[in-house]
Amino acid sequence: MRMRQAAAAVLALVALACIPASAGAVAEGSGSPPMQWLDIDLAGSNGYSIHVSVNPRRHLILQVSKEGVELEYMTRDVLPDADRVKAKLVGFGTVSVRFHRRGAVRHPSLPGCEGKRPTVQPGVVRGTIKFVGEREYTQVKVREAEAAIEEPKSWLCRYAAKFEPRPGQSDWISKFSTEEEGFYFLARKYRPGVIEGGEVIYLAETGETFKRTAGRPPLTIFRDVSVPASASTFRDAHPERLTLSPPPPFIGTGTLTRTAESVFAWGGDLAVQFPGIDPIPLAGPGLGSDYCLRETGCIRQVEYQR
């Protein structure tokens, strides 16, 4: 149950970030504001890229990324205007800027979005952008940065968003997943040549929400990582035993074994190391799991009390 609630919360938050602007406008009952996004690209310390965006529903999302790891800090912009932003990422910094147009409007073409070219107004933001990640894994502090206000025709056809295509559902040959409140872990093994950099993709997602405090909007942090690895990290030669040893930022090993009670136990010391925080365990007794062989079927185990 707890797992389902967490999954529902994550889905709801993702939906908030992605919902079409028109729907958001109706929901907030403030007429029909234009579907506008403000995007700001920054360079953080230690090689991290930082992208700040404000969506039509006035959610501010600060994304930090490097080598397959992405961290997302989401809160609310307290100002209603598309060209002004004021938001506090409690404990991490603030974004308080005003957008100034600079240059002509562009209509860039996007692959797969023929006929749906967005309107992009380049410019700069001036004010304060300050962000310091957990344990200072990265930081940025600027008073001016290049920016753009984008009006997409469809939320899928966003110029500033970087959608990285993932291998199709039909190409995996075996997969394993587990989840608990706050995290989801997936390992998919593919036929050789389907993905770049190996035959296995490891994906971990975590999410946590800090509730609204005295007048401050809630803060949500998503962390996710997706890394390719060689087939040798996904050992499933025995039909009832699986061993996963994904590469960094994962650490340790996870094993799925059938116990004498015929329970499929997912154990080991597998964890994921996101920047600035302690490793998050991804294995342990009592976790539910789902292990599937494409041609054969699945072994499912419900979560149970430890």
Binding site: P239, E261, T296
Partner: protein, 343 residues
Amino acid sequence: MVAVGLVVAAVLVLAAGAGQAELRRAGRFDVQRALTAGYLSLGKEKGYQLALSMPNAQVVIFSAVRTERLQDERFSGRYSVYVTRNRGSLERGVVRARFGSLGRVSLRLRPSGPTRRSDPRSGCEGGLLTARRGRFVGHLSFRGEGNYFHVASPKGNGYIAHSPRLRCEQGKAEERPPRSLRAYAAPNFVFSDEQSIALLYASTHSHGRYVGISAMHREESRPGADVQLKIVEPRRGMVTGHGAFLDGPPGTLLTSRPGAHPATATLAPPAPFYGEAAYSEEADAWTGNLGVKIAGLSLPLSGPDFHARLCVVNPLRDKDGCDFFKTEPAFIERPARPGWMLR
């Protein structure tokens, strides 16, 4: 608590299922014979829900059912049914039966309120169903073996229902009731062994008494095993059936893994069971001190008289689990099930 409902339903189905009239094929229609059935709720005694049911005019069943909630949302239950012939005329509202040395009933329904009438079930026609509610008056006494319950009066509400002969579309008529009393004393198991990936079954049959115990772990389920026991035996003019079922905690059933030979298993369910038993494929033996205390009886559930079988499958190789596993010898009490065959 689904199983609680199931066992109650099992007892009721036992009553209802047995009370259905014989069918006579008539072209595209089935004829369902007239049927009279009755029921008397006797309330609770020492934790047992007691009832007298007449699934048809010929059979009387005394039932005692007890269910309990255990820790961690687990549950257990036990039941006893005593089946004998009705020597009275149910059509005239009379139930008269002897349950050996355990008890006897001599009752007559005293109706109260109007007779209720209702249409026959969908797909059938022929007349209205009638039900007379009221109180049964007369003599009723019953003492469970070892005095595990005792009831001495027919207090409680009851009814007698009558269905006229009906013409039903093919497949809509009630199934033919069993002729033998033994069939009424062997209700369906509470737990289905479909989707089990570990299933242990042990049974014995001697001097007319059948004792069978099964334990299974269903695919995807939490640690633990579903255990159920069924005992059926004839006793001077009646047939008794006793059973127990429980959602056992971790450690109840431990087995070797699929493909491991010789296969082994141990079964150690909690009360009303005691002790544990071990199965060895190598020795083809079911040994230990496993037993059960039920309905005033204390019975061993292991030993050389028992026939034991074990099925442990890999869900990736045997998608249907152990449901294909034909464990029992020919004298089983288990009702036949479609698709129940060896592969």
